[in-house]
Symmetry: C3
């Protein structure tokens, strides 16, 4: 089976059937990473370029492992070593890479829309690994995979997303995906971190954490980008934590079998208390495991591997 | 077949027969990168070290893809992570790498002559991926391959090389190669960018772009290193572009079937107008594609792969 | 055969039998790196993560080559590109990596004890590739392998270790290993570079190079970290060299068949004179060659490869 799309640019573009196809394919790849020999010959002789023009460890590592477990040749290009510093345009970089006949390009870029530019001019499949504050579709897919694995479904679940909604590509991709899959999504965060017109995305908006997580099946905590404090989006980390840190007390408002998720890296004691991050409700590390499988599925589906 | 040389240090050292052997081998490798499974077992179990002590994306990526498509194990070492920062000499770095039994070393270095030092002390084949303002032989080989593929020959062609001739290793390697292959080479650029005694290299020297490209079969535009402007080699980028930018107007002076080449990354609107870079005469992306094949050929010929 | 340990954290933890098992396994792997096809399928489908949170070329390259020659998939993570910069704790980084199902983690870290932390929380084997001023066990193992290969034994040999004993993880690991294997170890260096209570480690302590190397079978010179001079551990490099540089004159005090070792990178003319580093007594490059074999042995023994 194959996705009818050439690229994975965002969740917004995906139908329910496409999301289900990706999740089911990912589920079938989970087993590969538990084998003694964690490798299938599916993408032997394919070249996957990881073009990471914004710093990242976990996503790049996850894609690299995914590619290698499918037997693809993986090439890493990072911003610090790239000729971007020599002033080449992204379009010229893309055309140059295309001329080397890769089979897929995974791109992370600090500018929203960069993967779209590549997709338009390159014949190869483009996978968005995070573009500015726009989308981070593989994160949302691994989140949905984790929810489905733990809850058996997504439809009908009450899901709270808490934190810096306005600047979070993780939040945007999850809002698109979860609402499309029939979940009831509530978002919460400081007013300075809430985008205008967010209600038009089909979500309920709260100002307070407690309100958002009441009776929730799933709580997704977003990373506070501590480097952003200087922009005065909130007075201090302590102040933020006072109001929006998920802890052993306020979590009692959620359902008894609530799942706690976080895209990582986590700020312990800022948006999430250590006892929650490491506690029984947390599926944070399942998310990481599922991330490799989701990326294997996308590389497979988009390059038409056999 | 095998090159009789241990190393590829520069085009200056190559005979016509050796250049032809490399180009023909490269032509036979072009097809590998168009397959569904882009991989041949030729260099399985060989270790290729890419020692890039000067920043580079395209050349390192091209060599890495070339190695992987031949099934070699590729190891990247870049200046930022190397113990060069700990004050080790290049000779000691080389001896250490040699002791790990690699099968080939690809080196880029900001100092002219660095690959020669390695070649002298290491038993393994050394491939020069660009040394200071000295030579960039794989670039010249891929340029010659592109010319031969498009024009069927190199001998007798009128070829103009335009830009910062004095500081360009691309220009030097191409002048050696193209004159040896029987082309008529003309160079042009500002007087501050023209090396003394350049005429002794067997080329015609012009001060004006228009004069150099008149009736040319091939125009090679060199990259202006915009970071070098502070050295006052030219008053401003705009001034440079006024006199030396190849554009839709002045290109009419060349032959109707002229080919436009550029080693990249290009500065749009400085040395080359966008309509030329992206236009019908441009073979810039063919150069990139051929680069992978040329590097595969050299890794194959120098390591005696089967 | 397999090590009964999950991890290789330090030489201090190893028994004589364990050291011998590692050295004998390493000896059997030496041959692989001399083959035409330098690759065995032993670790095919295994994922080895090189987590280098402190700069290193030679050790990372050595581990990467070792992994690839065993057919493992190798993933490099370095500090400059890691999310450590985003403030994630080492423990969270470790848990995240664990969730991606690697088969071994090689870690270098500037903080002593970092590998121990990983070993405690991760189910995968951890290999210490150098932690602060604590241990560098693979260096000591390759040193012991080199001694055994050249002298046929370790027991009973007179071994001098000279330099900055206090800050050297290489010295510590070698003192543990060599004394355990029955060698007579003497250490020498400036008083500012000699740890208190060093004599409790079972070594003889000298203040002068000449005294330490008299009748020595083996001299190990340590690297002076020239960047440390500002800490005023010694007045100047020249002063240090006057007293502690191994040269053609003072080496005559040692046995006629003395071996000179150095973990590299060397400071020529500081701790070792060029004529010694490049001379007949030097086995510095044998150490490097053996390093690949020792790392292959450890990856093999700890991941239970077949």
């Amino acid at each position: 089976m194959k996705l009818s799309k050439k690229d994975l640019l965002g969740i917004r573009d995906l139908t329910v059937d496409e999301i289900n196809l990706i999740l089911e394919t990912a589920e079938s790849f989970i087993e590969v990473s538990t084998r003694d020999i964690k490798k299938v010959p599916t993408l032997r002789g394919k070249t996957v370029i990881n073009l990471f023009l914004e710093a990242s460890t976990r996503t790049r590592t996850s894609f690299e492992i995914a590619g290698k477990r499918l037997s693809a040749d993986t090439i890493n290009i990072s911003s610090t070593t790239s000729s971007i510093v020599k002033g080449e345009t992204l379009i010229d970089t893309a055309k140059n890479l295309e001329a080397m006949n890769p089979d897929a390009i995974v791109i992370r870029h600090s500018a929203a829309g960069a993967p779209q530019i590549l997709a338009r001019i390159m014949k190869q499949p483009i996978i968005n690994a995070g573009d500015g504050a726009h989308e981070h579709p593989t994160q949302a897919l691994l989140d949905m995979m984790t929810i489905k694995a733990k809850k058996g479904k997504i439809s009908g679940l009450k899901i709270a997303i808490v934190g810096d909604i306005a600047h979070s590509r993780v939040a945007r991709s999850n809002i698109y995906g979860l609402t499309r899959m029939g979940a009831h999504v509530t978002v919460a965060g400081p007013a300075t971190m809430m985008p205008r017109y967010i209600d038009r995305m089909g979500v309920r908006v709260c100002c307070r954490l407690e309100e958002a997580i009441r009776d929730a099946d799933i709580i997704m905590m977003l990373r506070i980008q501590t480097e952003r404090q200087q922009e005065n989006l909130f007075p201090s980390l302590r102040e933020y934590a006072n109001y929006f840190c998920l802890n052993g007390e306020n979590i009692k408002l959620a359902k008894d079998d609530v799942l706690v998720m976080h895209p990582g890296p986590i700020n312990r004691g800022v948006e999430i208390a250590p006892e929650i991050a490491d506690g029984p409700y947390s599926v944070i590390l399942d998310q990481v495991t599922n991330g490799v499988a989701v990326r294997m599925a996308l590389l497979y589906l988009l390059t038409g591997g056999k």
